[in-house]
Amino acid sequence: MMINKSNYEAYLLDYLEGSISTQDREALLLFFDLNPQLKSELDTDISLCLNPKAQLADDFKEQLLKHEADVYDLPVSDYLFIKKQEEGLSKTEQSELLLIEPNKHKQEKISLDYQKTILRSDTTVLYDDKSKLRRFALFPVFKQYVIRRSIAAAAIIAVFASVWFITETPDISTPQVANTVTSHVDELEKPIVAESKILEKPLPDEKQPSKDSLLKLANDPMELKKESAAKQKPASTKNANYLASIGHIKPLNNHKINAYEHGLNVMMPQYMNNNLLREELASIYRKIEVDESSNPSISFALLEGGVKVMNFLSKESVKMQKYYNDNGEVVGYKVKGENLELNRKVK
């Protein structure tokens, strides 16, 4: 290829870089001989490329560098002093600290300030309810399913036993009801075993004390006692004669009753007795109040008798307290029972 003014620069660059061939070199030198005004270009300095080893500005690099202290947003000195206290410093860090704070006295003072920040627990503060937190272990002597099964078995046995007991055991607790109509009288008839013993006992046809008898007893308790003693003899002889007239005693038939009936049998006499007593006591009080206005001395005697009757019948402890004047006369009395209290002056 011919070298001319339009393409000589490409050959010249190869020449300067040393990469031109011998043939092209001779042609290029011939071109410069023919054009001596361009020959100075052969001495061009082409060392203009970027040097990869060129250093960045030191201050710019410093700005990019980070210290461990930046993680904590702390000044380096503080970071180093805290680290010294918390974990200790490496040799590099120690020398760094020496550079930052060369004064040893100051170093010690700052270290001491940081030591003051260590918390000390108050060991006198104790949790005093430890017993509430503790737990106790149950030793597995019996396994739960064994206990459950044995309880179930015991319950079944108990049910069967109670059923058997109810059906088989004769009911001795329930009272017997008299039944004169018997089908097998002959079989049941048996001789009197202890006629004499029966004669000794009074018959259970004694009546409950009537209102009149109570009032009588209240007026004169001693008289009533005598009367009853007098009456007892003919009654007992009458009963004895009656019993002696009976050739045989027919035993009573067992008649089963249920629990409700049994309860009624037990409760009803008590209930009736209580009602009767209440009525009797109320009538005595009424009588006392009426008599009190008419004849104080009689009413007082009546009251005394009434209290005795009350205690006799109700088994309650009705207390009577008398108040005396200087002459030894009764001026007042106080009657105190379980449900009543009465204070009266004797007129």
Binding site: Y72, L119, V125, L126, L133
Partner: protein
Amino acid sequence: MTVEEFNQAVNLYSDGVYRFVLKNIKDEDKAKDIIQDTYEKLWKKHAEVNFQKVKSYLFSAAYHTLIDLTRREKKQAQWDEVDFKNHSHSEGYSDLNEVLHKAIERLPETQRMVVMMRDYEGYSYKEIGEICGLNEAQVKVYIFRARKFLKEYIGKIEVLV
């Protein structure tokens, strides 16, 4: 963990956990309730918890209960805010420990608890991280920042005195 080990945990750590909770909430009754809750939680999981890690478990449970409580109370307190300007610095300081405990109250709650665990119980960063659900670096940052704050606070008080 056996029942015996559970009872051992009561004897060994209940005082420490109680002190830690009490320092944070300043209320004996609430602190006792938290301790009871904490040990109740432990009892429910005692079969799964290893005795070697029971202390961490206790502190962790107490820590989370405390966090819940303080957050709940903060919400409550927003309704009836106190005028702190009129109440601050009314008390006198008798000794360094008292000053330090006043200073610790002013730290953010996580920083406060982390420093307490570090100082009271001597836990490592890693252990504290496990208890509080933080990584080691976070724990370290909290402790370093707290130290800086405490040092400055004490310095200021000393200057005032």
